[in-house]
């Protein structure tokens, strides 16, 4: 049997006939769910969590410094290697945001 001839207009017609499922919509509670999730996730850390995080950070820095000093690095290099990345990660973005908000 000979293969039927096709053209793009026929595919267009086929797609129009086939894709007739109802268009879905977002649930009415979408905004409410999303904003409650935003509130939940943007809550600042509690006193206990902050203490725990600070303790962990300090302990890591001390352990890391002692270990590096044990390997023969001087304290200036150790301080630069710890404070440099900390500045880049923590302080620089905050400064950039502040300068952007200050500019008109």
């Amino acid at each position: 049997m000979a293969e039927p001839e096709f053209n793009e207009a026929e595919v267009d017609g086929l797609l129009r006939r086939s894709m007739t499922a109802p268009i879905p919509t977002l649930s009415p509670e979408f905004d409410q769910h999303l904003m409650s999730e935003v509130s939940l996730r943007s809550q600042p850390l509690g006193r206990y969590q902050r203490g725990l995080l600070a303790g962990y950070g300090i302990l890591s820095v001390v352990a890391c410094s002692v270990s590096m000093h044990g390997q023969g690095l001087d304290w200036t290099t150790i301080a630069a290697s710890i404070l440099g990345p900390l500045f880049l990660v923590g302080v620089a973005p905050a400064l950039r945001l502040a300068s952007r908000q200050a500019s008109p």
Partner: protein, 188 residues
Amino acid sequence: METDVQLVARAQGGDRQAFAELVRRYRDLVFRLAVSILGQGFVPEAEDVAQEAFLKAHRSLCSFRSEAEFSSWIYRITFNEAVNLKSRARYRRPHANETALAGRMTSEPGPDEQVETAHRDQALAECIRALPEAYQSALRLYYWLGVGVGEVAELLDVPENTAKSYLHRARSLLLGMMKDKGYSCGGT
């Protein structure tokens, strides 16, 4: 009415109302984009993708540069989220497939014709799923969700001519695939 830039600046300063307004502005388009990538059987997942995209945007709002368009940014996040989810869930069958087929079977006359149409539509759906993601999305946005070419281009973050070319190439590829499967596009 406040511009996106003003709303983004306020949201970056911690104003949740401003972020809520951005959500109201873009939620439907973000959801349409997600559903166009995931397909009609994955509507609940598309809603999850839309939610996750907005949460990611909120989390990264501080790093968002206001020279860029908020719309392009949120569409890009949505596209990546949906494609990632799809690659994780590729083994799953869509929720609505059988229901949709059953609905079609009862609404059309002639049992042979119904079966033939259902099989052809099934084959077409399989061919569409084999296309590149951007082509699939463009097809579903245009043919199913009734989105115009200009808006398809905006959602996929490409120029309008590229969106037209996506649709053209997708149709050409489908033509070949359907031909390989032995289906006539013109017939019912």
